[in-house]
Amino acid sequence: MTSPTMRDPQGAGFVVELEKFSGPLDLLLHLIREDEVDITDLPIAKIAVQFLAVINDLGLNQAADYLEMAARLLRIKAQMLLPRRLGDDEWEDPRAELVRRLLEYQQIRELVEWLGHAADVRAERFGRGYEAPPPDAPPAPLQIDLNDLLGAAERVIALIPEPMLHRVVPRPLDVEGATARINQLLAERETFSWSEAVGPNATLVDVLSTFIALLELAKRSSLTLSQSEPFGPMVITRAPPREAA
């Protein structure tokens, strides 16, 4: 956004303070004003050369917007060189779009001056400096009503891309919850079955959470897992208490 002050390496006295320019359009306007050329009949070749000379002094990394404009200028310059048929009403001046943007931008710059002046004038007046502390110090009430929230929800729905409508986002596993549940069972009973561990109406997520919790607890030697036969019901047994260290 901001750029350092650049000095022409040839020392030709050409100093461009890039902070002065808020973008490539601003720089273009500056060149146009300096050359006192007609903005609606832009000498594109000349301006392009000048523009390139200036941005040549810029680091590329900070000049993407300027480079884009340089490319545009060169393209317009090339288009201007194309032959056009006499009396061709359809011919559109390749500079038209750029000129439109420059005029528009010039208008913005004028508004900037107006706004800047208005802000300066306003800054000469002070409002009340002292703000009384709120009586019981409740912060300003936050206003949300249900309609606002539902309106927002509807906007969100409108935004959801089609394929997302049925996308199932997995609920995160709750290993901590499962571990707590198993520890409670261990405290109550020496052995219990897998179906007791996982609980009634278990979802896939519950099953996975419980399974991971069991493995973790087995690793920590809090319990042992056993099956009497392959695919048989799993039995969870409390591990014998360890000797105190």
């Binding site: 973008g23 359009l25 917007d65 005029l103 208008q107 000469e124 409002g127 009340r128 703000e131």
Partner: protein, 179 residues
């Protein structure tokens, strides 16, 4: 002073921002506050260091201009930071084009304006007012009452008309142009 005028005076003094007619009216439900407001205004229009100013669709007591420097020098109050040219450019575009999306601002300025717009949102000078149609339903921005406040404007009508600018130009919205 009329009792209601004194109440308004107190309320306007206490607030550190402009109060709208509606807000002032809520102090005395069912009463017409206009005469009382006029009374306060007339009183301070005269021989006072502060005056009642119509600003940001409301009313606010402000110090008279001639004391600004002295008060600032004594460091009793600070002038607000000046807005950068980039911020003013962005504000100008948003003020005139609102509601307007970031891409359009970028296009008019010829540079990426995201960071500047974020700052302006942070300072409460612009806000998202709606979403546009079309791809991605872009957020559209408009100016806030604080924008009017820092510029000392009564309302958006106080902004110069585009026709009044020396670079007179038809409204440049491409969408408005006939095919």
């Amino acid at each position: 002073m009329h009792p209601l005028a004194k109440l308004l005076e107190a309320a306007l003094f206490a607030a550190s921002r402009p109060l709208t007619l509606e807000e002032l009216s809520s102090l005395a439900p069912g009463e017409n506050i206009q005469p009382a407001l006029d009374e306060v205004r007339a009183l301070y229009q005269g021989d006072h260091g502060v005056e009642l100013v119509e600003i940001a669709e409301g009313w606010q007591f402000l110090t008279r201009r001639e004391y600004a420097e002295t008060i600032e020098r004594a460091q009793f109050a600070l002038r607000p930071r000046r807005l950068s040219p980039a911020a003013l450019e962005t504000l100008a575009i948003i003020a005139y084009r609102q509601p307007v999306g970031r891409l359009e601002v970028d296009e008019i300025r010829g540079v990426d304006s995201g960071a500047v717009m974020d700052k302006l949102v942070e300072r409460g000078l612009i806000e998202v007012v709606t979403r546009g149609e079309g791809l991605g339903r872009p957020l559209l921005y408009g100016t806030t009452p604080s924008f009017l406040e820092i510029l000392g404007l009564k309302d958006l009508e106080d902004l110069p008309r585009l026709e009044e600018l020396s670079v007179a130009l038809r409204r440049p919205m491409p969408a408005d142009e006939p095919e």
